[in-house]
């Protein structure tokens, strides 16, 4: 293993961490506020990737595609929330899990109808290569890392400094008291759900140039997303960030050592962490609702 390979693996790992973070921060937010596990985030992820493919091939601009993907997902998530998810906020967590998994499957099927089965390529919008310690690194990967950091800071700012974010954090602590203060908690739920879905779509958009866009992409990233969520602890933004960093590095450096290790190693890490702490690194005592 030489130094150049290691550096490029670390950068790739960091950019994968960025994507994992964007995808799982939605899951974490939804769990934190609504105590639901929203598996349909993976549908928004795939939808985002497909929309950026469509818009990019129509207009030629990746950035327009990004905007289009986020807007489309916003609409789709709003429809799903109004029609289906709204009814299960007060139900046990198992209920929302099965239901949103159904939504995810439905979405995958619909994607197959609309776009077909064949994988679609998306060109990288930034093509330059930057030199880091004598190793050529695509600038796009660095852009992904920067974007994830910006999103992390923005989410933290939103939750800690704005009045809406404060209301959401209060809702996480005690939903009933927040309602008693005259805040419409259902509107907060909708807002969080939409925010999560848009972030998931963003993850799909920026992941699209790395891989071929295919209907099963949402399914194949599920395992990694779950590992990130579990290692970090459900409902914790900081934990999600830390564990995304861990999983990204384990995946890319593991792949460097032995290719099948890329899928196995994060699972082993997850098992070890769960042995030490069954609620993940930053997870608090969870209530069983």
């Amino acid at each position: 293993m030489n130094g150049q390979l290691l550096i490029s693996a670390i950068v790739l790992g960091l950019s994968m961490s960025g994507i994992y973070f964007l995808l799982t921060v939605g899951l974490s937010l939804c769990y934190g506020l609504m105590r639901m596990i929203s598996l349909d985030q993976f549908f928004y992820y795939a939808l985002g990737a497909y929309m950026v493919y469509t818009v990019t091939s129509l207009t030629g601009s990746f950035w327009l595609g990004m905007l289009g993907a986020m807007l489309t997902t916003l609409v789709a998530a709003f429809v799903v929330e109004r029609l289906i998810v709204k009814r299960v906020y007060s139900k046990p967590v198992m209920f929302s899990m099965i239901l949103t998994f159904g939504v995810n499957l439905l979405g995958v099927g619909l994607i197959k109808y609309v776009w077909g089965l064949s994988p679609k390529p998306v060109a990288s919008p930034i093509s330059g290569i930057m030199n880091i310690f004598g190793t050529g690194v695509p600038i796009y990967r660095l852009f992904v890392i920067v974007l994830a950091v910006v999103v992390y800071l923005a989410v933290q700012y939103f939750l800690n400094k704005t009045i809406l974010g404060t209301a959401i954090r209060a809702g996480i602590d005690d939903a009933e008291k927040v309602e008693a203060l005259g805040i419409n908690i259902n509107r907060l739920f909708t807002l969080t759900f939409l925010l999560s879905s848009v972030l998931s779509a963003l993850a799909g958009v920026i992941h699209a140039p790395f891989v071929m866009v295919s209907p099963e992409m949402g399914m194949s990233i599920t395992a990694f997303a779950f590992m990130v969520v579990i290692i970090g602890g459900l409902g914790s933004i900081k934990g999600t960030m830390v564990s995304a960093l861990i999983v990204g590095q384990v995946v890319s450096i593991g792949a460097l050592i032995w290719a099948p290790l890329a899928e196995m190693a994060p699972f082993l890490v997850m098992m070890i962490i769960l042995l030490i702490k069954p609620t993940g690194l930053y997870g608090s005592k969870l209530m069983n609702r």
Binding site: Y31, I37, I84, R87, V88, V93, M94, F95, M97, I98, L99, F101, G102, V103, N104, L105, L106, G107, V108, G109, L110, K112, Y113, E216, M219, S220, T222, A223, F226, M227, V229, I230, L234, A259, P260, E263, M264, F267, M270, M271, L274, L275, P278, T279, G280, L286, N288
Partner: protein, 328 residues
């Protein structure tokens, strides 16, 4: 009425009727129903009696299937032994995996299970590709010797055998769910684990044993699958089929005795009919899951039992027998 519905003779009658349905329906379909319902039974037990939802059932199916497949491909030719090896392999894996998974609370359990399913898929597809041949799989045609008594290499033999095994599994689960103390404690774990722990039960052990029992059913179904189809490939553990067992359980009614059978019958029937019209099967499974969950999550058998209980309660009040046995 309810007492008769759950008794041993009902199981025999139901499975005999189903066996002779082959006069009207294709035998291949019925064999698949018999095998798949064993798989669904385990999942249904986990959801309905233990309160643990597992989206990773294909992984446990795969260990049974590969146990049987690898025995037949490399070591022997007797399909009975192959099924035994498959079941043993799945028991060992379940015991080890259960040690880790059962400690988790229900949301973590579900997510870990699905992650495990993906890891199993990669294990059989990529990591062990030298022995399992990945997506091409192990082809076992003409690797099985004809067996005495019931010839598992013939379609008729496997048909009979699948039904016998399914009926035995049903006897076992009937005992487990309706008669045994263990089944009752499982239900207590679902309702109030903390209280049970306070009463001095070791809930970890109960959950671990239930996990092993439920997933061994999946392993058994997997081993039967291998023998029935004469092949096994990595797709058996694919995540996209992870929801099928859950969908069947919810459709039939999780935790009920005949729920998995009814659910499997309808599900595989729908799949066979619909696949002639619809290209992408996920849409239907997804819709089914959404409809069943929004319609009240009791499932077909669950709602039927509810009506029946109401009906019999109205007819003969008071009903001390019902309150004793109405454990659902």
């Amino acid at each position: 009425m309810k007492r008769y519905l759950n008794s041993w003779s009902t199981i025999i009658i139901v499975f005999t009727l189903l066996y002779f349905l082959k006069a009207f329906l294709p035998a291949a379909f019925l064999t698949e129903v018999a095998i798949y319902s064993i798989y669904a039974m385990g999942c249904s037990f986990l959801i309905g009696r233990l309160g643990l939802t597992s989206f990773g059932q294909p992984a446990f199916l795969a260990f049974g299937a590969y146990g049987a497949g690898i025995y037949l491909y490399y070591f022997g030719t007797n399909p009975f032994v192959a099924i035994l090896v498959g079941v043993l392999a799945s028991v060992v894996v379940n015991m080890l995996v259960g040690l880790f998974f059962v400690r988790l609370n229900s949301s973590y359990f579900t997510l870990c299970n699905q992650a495990f399913c993906v890891v199993t898929f990669f294990l059989f597809q990529k990591a062990l590709v030298k022995w399992t041949f990945g997506d091409n799989g192990l082809l076992l045609i003409s690797r099985m010797d004809p067996t005495p008594v019931i010839d598992l290499t013939s379609p008729k033999g496997i048909y009979l055998f699948a039904f016998i095994v399914a009926a035995l599994v049903w006897f076992f689960y009937n005992y487990l769910m309706k008669r045994s103390v263990f089944g009752a404690t499982c239900l207590c774990v679902k309702d109030n684990e903390q209280k049970l722990r306070f009463l001095g039960y070791k809930t970890y052990n109960i959950k671990w044993l239930a996990f092993v029992i439920a997933n061994t059913a999946a392993g058994l179904a997997g081993a039967l699958y291998t023998v029935y189809f004469c092949m096994v490939n990595a797709n058996i553990a694919s995540v996209s089929s992870a929801s099928e067992a859950v969908a069947i359980s919810m459709l039939g009614g999780a935790g009920t005795l005949f729920g998995p059978l009814v659910g499997t019958f309808i599900f595989i029937g729908l799949k066979d009919i619909a696949s002639q019209f619809i290209r992408h099967w996920e849409v239907l499974v997804g819709l089914l899951l959404i409809v069943v969950m929004l319609a009240g999550q009791k499932g077909i058998v669950g709602s039927l039992e509810g009506y029946l209980a109401k009906y019999t309660a109205k007819k003969s009040e008071p009903t001390p027998a019902l309150t004793q046995e109405g454990g659902v």
